[in-house]
């Protein structure tokens, strides 16, 4: 069954659909999998940064460590482990960064910086800002990683969805309707909304319904790209929900 919304999926260049299961299966030999891995790392670097930061490193150290860590990941030095584990990208990243901080930091510090290593550009101001936004209490680095992971994932999904609306020339619709993603609150203001969007109440309800359905599709798609098996998606949603509730 093809829903009308579906035609917009997967065409985005800014948010390439990548699959962790493919990467972990293909390993170092595949150039495509390297690109895909790069895309995944670019999407999920903030939890790593927050994790390192919560471990007690300063901002500058954390930036350097994040750079060095992702450089190593992208040079595929850790992918063999990934293939062995066949787990989720999230678990792989957490295990790898833990391992990196424990064992490999010293070695990587002595290696030449820059040179022919892979260039990464992270917006560390954003990372720092997000890190500080977290309630500053007893969260362990691991729990913080999981929360930040959930946030990064949701950001990406919202970004992808907005992109779809932008491509259809409906960015305003998205910006005004997205609040309904989390529930039916604010229905009382629909008159105002209807006027802003020049839509009838019924049309808005349909649009909201579509928005929510598509959002769910995109979220599942996005999660599916980070796990080894399609059947782990629902479990992952529950896990992330639990991670957010731990605060």
């Amino acid at each position: 069954m093809v829903t009308p919304d579906k035609t917009a999926a997967g065409l985005s260049r800014r948010f390439p659909t990548t699959s962790w299961s493919l990467i972990s299966a293909a390993g170092r030999d595949s150039a495509e999998s390297a690109d895909a891995l790069g895309a995944l790392c670019a999407a999920y670097w903030t939890p790593v940064y927050a994790f390192i930061r919560r471990k007690g490193y300063t901002r500058e150290e954390s930036e350097d460590l994040s750079q060095a860590f992702f450089t190593r990941v992208l040079e595929h030095r850790t992918l063999a482990e990934a293939r062995r584990e066949r787990g989720k990208f999230r678990s792989f990243l957490l295990a790898s960064v833990t391992n990196f901080l424990a064992n490999e930091w010293d070695r990587s510090r002595t290696q030449k910086r820059g040179g022919d290593s892979i260039a990464l550009s992270f917006d560390f101001d954003t990372g720092e800002e997000r890190y500080h936004r977290e309630p500053y209490h007893e969260l362990t680095p691991e729990a913080l990683f999981e929360r930040q992971w959930a946030m990064a994932l949701l950001d990406r999904v919202l970004g992808r969805q907005r992109e779809e609306y932008v491509r259809r020339g409906n960015a305003t619709h998205f910006d005004l309707l997205k609040v309904f993603l989390t529930g039916d609150h604010g229905r009382g203001e629909n008159h105002e909304l209807a006027a802003q969007l020049e839509m009838s109440g019924a049309a808005i309800r349909t649009a909201v319904h579509r928005l929510r359905r598509r959002y769910a599709e995109l979220l599942r798609e996005e999660i599916a790209a980070t796990v080894a098996d399609g059947d782990e998606v629902e479990a992952e949603i529950r896990f992330l929900l639990a991670a957010l509730e731990r605060a």
Partner: protein, 773 residues
């Protein structure tokens, strides 16, 4: 620090502005369709710990309690299924009873038995069991889903018996065998049973005194239908034969589709008595009594299988099979066509058995598979006209009867008085059916077309393309007439016909048909419909066959993108397309690109389909070819040999794929300079190709061409020229025709006056046959 805003839905603080002012928790919860997602009171939520297990998610709810997927991290990291027993049971007693059997359970080590690791109590005081996490589905569901034939069902069931037998040898009785406790997983593409919950029933069984049994029914033991009479009657001790009875019920259900006795409307207090006194009807009789036919025919069950099932279901334990292995042994005898023990051993019976065994031989299994295929076809038949329920039922019944009659007739292949060999092959049955279907089911053209399609598929799987063609042509014709030219089934038949024409290298006809099919499908079904995508793939494959690589590449990339989106990246169709795209790249000489795609497809297939699946083998063959193209002959040879070994075993020595790999191995050998070995291999292959594929098949022509090259290299010009001529006149593809004068292997012919004439003839033929590149 800013004051945290609160989510209007859940009241939680909005922790990250990054979600554009929205509550991250509610965003996730909304997707689950359950904003609160609160677990029932007293049950663990995902992320919580139970003993040393962390709950991942709820897998399901059974009569006995809830089953969770959980993760264990120490001492080993693994996933387990955690069964948490409902309240109302004495946790200490359950755990104590489990402990008493723990040693015996630990001794069990059998592929058909899922291990039970541990038992304990949750923080809320409920008993739990941790066991091996098995991702299969129940045996009955599996058999129906995959439309397994009787033989396959019996084989699978025998494996279950083996597992139960192993447990009995370790003094463990299951006590609660039923389909939902017998899961089936696929290992290397083959079904394998896993019995779960060993030791659980015993630990959770409540003391059998007075009416306590009745409180158990439906809540702990589950469906009473699988319980032995002695167990239901509250016997103080049951023995291994109680499992034999339950196995008998499962066998019955696998053969007939329903339980031997229906207790659904029986009040709980009358159940033990009914179970004790009421005899199960013979499976064949039960099947006949059921209105709708599915799976096996009553005829197949009549006799031995009836006897086997009823012997396992004897009320008196002493009259049953003494053990699961005896039950399995009798099934084995049935499968081999030997007299079964369950049957009264009269002289007439034994003689009849002997005759049948020798007349039909091994054909029975294949024919049974064909039969069940036909039933499946009939069952999936969709009635397009509206009619009331009774008409519908009557119609379905008539249909089933017609198929049964038609297929039964097919078994009367030879006159018993006629002395001819001792076996009737499934092929003969199929051939006869193909001949007679035109008249045999004439009164029901829809059904007739469906059967033709089904038989066509069987021929296709056997690689007998020329026999498939008339069936598919007729099916298209009938469906166009009866269902109309735009009907999805008509279009599917058209695609099948196009594929068949292509396989026989009748490219022009195939292309015309493919384009017509595709255009109609795009209009009628839509551009992303799986059928439409399959047709795009078909057309691209055809273009490759004709050497039109650029067109094929464009179409393949378009289709691949759609399939990745619509089916997902690991779907068999997506992978097939990946392989096709690689073929196109390879055809254009872009070998490194092609190699990468082949490896990607091969890795996924090995993982998803298993190392012996025909499609996995296809990937191996393709990868080996592209290695050869890159001059990596030794690597190619090694991989081709590996592929060929598997293909000979899995597909048989005469299968077209096997032949193709043989020809490819010959090419490796040739390029490595091992001419003698190569020529021997090509001769042997050519002989089979002529017989199986026919003299006009492109693959046959290529082998002939290769032999010509060998002859030319030896300096035997006469032989070389005559073989070349044969290849050109019998199916050589235009590309080869055009390249004859440039082929270095044929250099020794260049001085011969006959050679230019042959070259001209070949180019002429190529111009007539092939399209310009």
């Amino acid at each position: 620090m800013t004051t945290a805003k609160r989510c209007p839905e859940c009241g939680g603080s909005l922790m990250a502005g990054s979600q554009e002012g929205m509550c991250a928790r509610c965003l996730l919860a909304a997707v689950l369709g359950d904003a609160r997602a609160a677990p029932p009171a007293g049950l663990p939520a995902p992320g919580e710990w139970v003993g040393c297990y962390r709950i991942v998610r709820l897998l399901g709810e059974g009569g006995m309690g809830m089953v969770y997927l959980a993760e264990q991290e120490t001492p080993i990291s693994r996933r387990v299924a955690l069964k948490i027993v409902k309240l109302g049971m004495d946790t200490r007693e359950v755990v104590a009873r489990f402990e008493s059997e723990r040693q015996a359970l630990a001794l069990m080590d059998h592929p058909a038995i899922a291990k039970v690791f541990d038992a304990g109590s949750t923080p809320q005081g409920r008993p739990y069991f941790a066991m091996e996490y098995v991702t299969g589905i129940s045996i009955t569901e599996y058999c129906d889903k995959h439309k397994l034939a009787i033989r396959q069902r019996l084989e699978l069931f025998s494996a279950v018996c083996d597992g139960v037998q192993h447990a009995h040898q370790k003094a463990v009785i299951h006590r609660d065998l039923k389909p939902s406790n017998i899961l089936v997983v696929e290992i290397d593409g083959k079904p394998a049973p896993r019995i779960i919950d060993f030791g659980v029933a015993k630990a959770t069984a409540q003391r059998l005194a007075g009416n306590s049994l009745f409180t158990r029914l439906g809540s702990i033991v589950g469906t009473p239908g699988y319980m032995s009479p002695e167990q239901a009657g509250g016997a103080a001790e049951v023995d291994t034969r109680t499992d034999v009875y339950s196995l008998g019920v499962v066998l019955y259900e696998l053969l007939v589709g329903v339980l031997p006795l229906d207790f659904s409307n029986t009040p709980v207090d009358r159940f033990p008595r009914r179970l004790r006194e009421e005899e199960a009807p013979r499976p064949s009789a039960k099947l006949r009594a059921l209105a709708e036919q599915s799976g096996p025919s009553a005829r197949q069950l009549h006799g031995d299988l009836d006897s086997i099932a009823l012997k396992a279901l004897e009320k008196e334990p002493a009259r049953r099979y003494a053990s699961p292995s005896e039950l399995a042994a009798d099934i084995g005898r049935y499968l081999r066509g030997e007299p079964v023990e369950a049957h009264p051993a009269t002289a007439g019976y034994r003689a009849g058995k002997y005759v049948r065994r020798h007349r039909i031989g091994v054909a029975v299994a294949a024919a049974a598979a064909l039969l069940s295929l036909s039933f499946a076809a009939a069952q999936t038949f969709q009635l397009r006209r509206t009619m009331n329920e009774r008409d519908r039922a009557n119609r379905e019944r008539d249909r089933a009867r017609r198929i049964a009659e038609f297929m039964t007739n097919m078994f009367k292949v030879s006159d018993p008085s006629e002395a001819r060999g001792n076996s009737v092959k499934a092929r003969e049955i199929l051939d006869k059916a193909a001949q007679e279907i035109d008249t045999g089911l004439a009164q029901d053209p829809e059904l007739q077309a469906q059967m033709m399609q089904t038989m066509g598929d069987v021929y296709d799987n056997l690689g007998l393309y020329s026999r498939e063609l008339p069936l598919l042509s007729r099916a298209v014709e009938i469906r166009r007439r009866v269902l109309g030219p735009r009907n999805p089934d008509t279009l599917t038949s058209m695609r099948g016909l196009g594929r068949n024409l292509m396989r026989q290298a009748r490219y022009a006809e195939a292309e015309k048909l493919d384009r017509e099919t595709l255009d109609t499908q795009r209009r009628v079904l839509g551009p992303e419909h799986p059928d439409t995508l399959k047709s795009m793939n078909n057309l691209a494959t055809l273009l490759v066959g004709e050497g039109r690589y650029a067109e094929a590449e464009k179409l393949d990339r378009e289709t691949l993108e759609l399939e990745r989106r619509v089916f997902g990246p690991e779907h068999p169709d997506t992978l097939a397309l990946l392989g096709n795209l690689a073929n196109v790249l390879s055809g254009q000489g872009r070998y490194a690109e092609a190699e990468r795609l082949y490896r990607e497809a091969l890795d996924i297939r090995r993982r998803v389909l298993g190392p012996e699946h025909p499609r996995t083998l296809g990937s191996m063959n393709n990868l080996a070819i592209v290695l050869n193209h890159q001059g990596r002959y030794a690597e190619a040879e090694r991989l081709h040999r590996e592929t060929l070994d598997l293909e000979r075993r899995v597909l048989g020595p005469e299968h077209p794929d096997t032949l193709r790999s043989t020809a490819n191995l010959a090419m490796d050998l040739h390029l490595e300079g091992h001419y003698a070995e190569e020529e021997k291999l090509v001769r042997a292959t050519l002989e089979i190709q002529r017989r199986v594929l026919g003299a006009e098949h492109p693959d046959t022509a290529v082998s002939t061409y290769n032999l010509a090259c060998d002859a030319a290299l030896r300096g035997d010009r006469d032989a070389a020229l005559s073989l070349l001529r044969e290849a050109v006149d019998h199916g050589l593809i235009p590309e080869f025709d055009r390249g004859i004068d440039r082929d270095l292997d044929l250099k020794s012919l260049h001085g011969d006056p006959r050679f230019p004439a042959l070259v001209a003839h070949a180019k002429e033929r190529a111009a007539a046959l092939g399209k310009p590149k």
